[in-house]
Amino acid sequence: MARRLERLDRGIKVRSDDVFALNSWREMLYIIAPRVLPVLLLLVLGLAATPYWQRVIMQACMIGLLAISWDLLASVGMVSLGQALFFGIGAYIAGILDHYAGLGPWLTIPIATVGGAALSTLLLLPVLRLRGIYFSMVTLIMPLMIERIIEATKIFGGTEGLSGLQPMPHALVEIIAAMAVVWVALFSFNRMMSSDYGLILKGINDNDRAVMSAGLNIYLYKAQALFLAAGVGAFAGAFVTHAYQFVGMPVFALDYSILPIAGAAVGGMGTMSGPLLGCFILVPLNELLRGLGGMRTVIYAVLLVVFTVGLPEGIFHFIKRKYTQFERWVEVEQ
């Protein structure tokens, strides 16, 4: 007798899919808990942490935003290897506005978000038509190119960067704002992707010729998705700039392109929650391993491989499956 693992939806999952189930507390809780608990948990951690770990959580939030942005692009069929482009452009716009015009974070961050989104979209507009790997290659190169341009022309402080920028008003404001923006981005993008507008975006990834023959301009939609994703990345860059009161060439570094993708690989792509979860694991882990010096990268890389090989669906999908389904072995006749 052979055995096969059978997966079935839990009763409570099925019942709570139905709106009538909202009469029962237990089922209400079943729906609400996975949305509210992570928010509360992060809030408690963020408030209780030492200033050092608060900064780590803030960083995780910002890399998390880059990962959400990455996942949004990926679900429209644009695989970005250059999230650092959005991050760096946002960071520099905020830094420049603060350094030369003294605008302060309340103005620079919103301007950098929208301006960074617009500038990144304009820069990538010519390559929007490129498919697959070609788009990816251009996004990979662009931030590195900008880094070299700043170095060569010595603009905006050159290799020194711009320091002494205005800080965030208060450490508490900083951490709460970081968390709030992450949740707002996550929930609103998730909502958007399940709307009819999101169906069009996913459709472009699924089958772009069918989208065209449905009378929809795919370049317009791709540009819109790019704008949104770039805006999220630019926000993160601007935020970090004020948190550290400094902006310099490292904001275009490869780390900001690679970490979000690593987060997506560990957390599981396609849901935005997965990549975010991945970043909340990887960024603090990176800090914990800091004491190990040179060995850190090795251990980090090994863990990454173990995660992706052992759990290719990603941690998020794994947890979600356990939450919504139960498994049992059934005997099958050959």
């Binding site: 507008y197 996913k202 069918a210 023959s213 009378g215 929809l216």
Partner: protein
């Protein structure tokens, strides 16, 4: 006498050395059904791609209601009211069947035409599926397109054209790969389109069904139009017999 909705003049396209479509001209009257036949590789699909903007012509004109649409972007052509099906079906595999139609229903053209029905796009989509032969109130319309049988995917292609509220519907071998019963169930759908005043171009290998529906038939071979006329008459022409005897119906 009704008016020409489509005038094609000297349309040509080569791929490398292959003349896929070469010097094709024809005219199509409003509410007519034109059948296009010819052996495999004759250039029928390329002709459709040229008409719908998916391929840019090397030469020639495509006048749709007097406007030259040759080389125009596919989405623009679609919004002018020219819809097509694909020989190789192109559904959104990840979406449930009825959600496939939400995309064409969101097109500028469909929005303009359905105006107030913005809110119940899902309901409109389900009605459209019923129109092309999906069983109402069955689970089929909720099934993901990737698990649907071929016959349903073909119907989904047709439903997309109807959702676009197209005036000119271009069908690329809609019947291929379908059972006799499936074809029989689709013929009334096409008849209905015609009653609604639509103009139709049908590329088809199933001659028996095509000849029942089409007013005129155009025959292509090696990228050229070799004949055009009433269905039965065309098949009597020596050039057409030659083209067919030379390829598919060998020994028939």
């Amino acid at each position: 006498m009704s008016q020409a909705i489509l005038q094609v003049e000297d349309l040509s396209k080569s791929f490398g050395g292959v003349k896929a479509v070469s010097g094709v001209s024809f005219e199509l009257m409003e509410n007519q059904v034109l059948g296009v036949i010819g052996p495999n590789g004759a250039g029928k699909t390329t002709l459709i791609n040229l008409l719908t903007g998916f391929v840019r012509p090397d030469r020639g004109k495509v006048l749709f209601r007097g406007q030259n649409i040759a080389g125009m972007k596919p989405y623009k052509v679609a919004n002018l009211g020219v819809a097509r099906t694909f020989q190789m079906v192109k559904p959104f595999y990840q979406l449930p069947a009825f959600k496939n139609l939400v995309l064409p229903l969101k097109s500028p053209r469909a929005k303009q035409l359905t105006g107030g029905r913005y809110g119940d796009r899902d309901a409109v989509a389900k009605d459209l599926l019923e129109e092309v032969g999906f069983e109402r109130d069955s689970w089929v319309i909720f099934k993901q397109a990737s698990v649907l049988p071929h016959g349903y995917l073909k119907r989904l292609e047709l439903a997309r054209c109807i959702a676009m509220a197209a005036d000119l519907v271009v069908l690329d071998e809609l019947f291929s790969g379908l059972s006799l019963a499936e074809v029989a169930s689709l013929v009334p759908v096409i008849d209905k389109l015609r009653v609604q005043g639509k103009t139709i171009i049908m590329v088809e290998h199933r001659l028996r069904e095509l000849f029942r529906i089409a007013d005129r038939v155009m025959v292509m071979n090696f990228g050229q139009k070799i004949a055009e006329g009433k269905p039965r008459e065309v098949m009597e022409m020596p050039a057409v017999r030659g083209a067919y005897l030379g390829s598919e119906e060998e020994g028939a």
